[in-house]
Symmetry: C2
Subunit: 276 residues, 2 copies
Amino acid sequence: MTRIAAVQMSPVIANLMVNRGTVGAAIAGALREGADIVVLPELATSGYVFQNMEELRSVAIPADGALFDEWAALASTRPSSVIVAGFAEAGADGAVYNSAAVVTAAGVLGIYRKVHLWDQEKRFFTPGSDAPLIVETAHGRLGVMICFDLEFPEWTRIAALAGAKMLAVPTNWPYVDRPAGERPPEVQIAMAAARVNRMSIICSDRAGTERGVAWNEGTTIVDADGWVVSTVGPGDGVAWADLDASDSRKKQLAELSGVFTDRRPDLYAMVVEQPS
Amino acid sequence: MTRIAAVQMSPVIANLMVNRGTVGAAIAGALREGADIVVLPELATSGYVFQNMEELRSVAIPADGALFDEWAALASTRPSSVIVAGFAEAGADGAVYNSAAVVTAAGVLGIYRKVHLWDQEKRFFTPGSDAPLIVETAHGRLGVMICFDLEFPEWTRIAALAGAKMLAVPTNWPYVDRPAGERPPEVQIAMAAARVNRMSIICSDRAGTERGVAWNEGTTIVDADGWVVSTVGPGDGVAWADLDASDSRKKQLAELSGVFTDRRPDLYAMVVEQPS
């Protein structure tokens, strides 16, 4: 079993120093409590609602930044542990990306740049152009994407087809209304994506309010059957779950049916086209 | 607004005459109560758990069968009404298909042959090889697929990209365990498919038990925001909802984001490949 900690937290907008401390403490705490994989929100080190590019650039860090050395040092306190967290990436090309880093005791294992940018993010960030990140970890193959990426079933399918057993999804879900008693719509989407791919999904969301933007505070761990196994609720906190990565290997659904084997890729070519 | 009736019923296995009566009465009743679109389950005229091909063939009917004339006559009692129902189709090629017919007062508007056959269905039916059926109706563009098809997000996306405002899904969902308080997993999948495509989805399920197979009895109407607006619960019955087909035209999610415009089809080409 792999012990998952999905951290829900409230970074301070544009204050890298404060967030470095908050994120570091959250990672250290989760590892101390036995987490094998710690997932933090999107843009956990920078906040989200930027006023201008200068503000964003002031908290953007390179993919080989010293901050990740600190996280690697934290990871070294717990054997085989893996940290996934969102940050604003200062690209070598001068662009800023909405990225997530996967860090182990050995250092940065991979960087993912968000491909599907939500709304005003397009004014600040350059979209990524690579597939969902897939990394080999001591706990199985881990996929990574960010927030709005999850709402494109093509993208979760690609991660599953690439063999991801678990999908880590740092998010900042702006608050949206929903009927009483219902989960956030993004959680519904995560549940379905987990179910149709038999792949567990870990979503770490923001808490609090930032410059008038509230969040769903919807941190949720979904198992490979598509069921919610842990949430945080309102405010800062950590969702915990023990996931069996082998669950996601159960792609065979019945004697003659499987999630992948029943696909009809010959008929899906049209899915890449845009609507008329 | 379009008034939807999703019929949950219990056909008798391999008894076309009895089912013809039950289905006809259900259609007539729904139209009398003001339904604009009536959706019935998968294989509503034949039942599902066949013992052998001879039994299946005994209740398979051609796509131009007299039964559809009866349904067209019923449709003529309610202006602009549309009937969608599953049946076992005796193909001109000698094969039997798990099909759905769309019938209006003018006759058969279209036939869809299930592409993703579930488990033992593969022993009886030949899979379809056409895209989800898309028909123009007085209530907007209607998409049709059957049961397990819904669990392939590629397939629902294709229907949405083809402009379907509503998706009718005749189903036979065999009973599966689920955590207390949860909806059937197929309903979770329908909710997410509706949400990510902003397309309402109407699922009409079986009731009762047939040769030891129980059903989820999960008939559900989901609106274009992905929320459940009507269900039947256990036993025979009808879920009713008034859907605004214009809801599904709200593909623009925010100033700079849309369900289709934010897709990255250039990056999705890989989705058609099978896993290694």
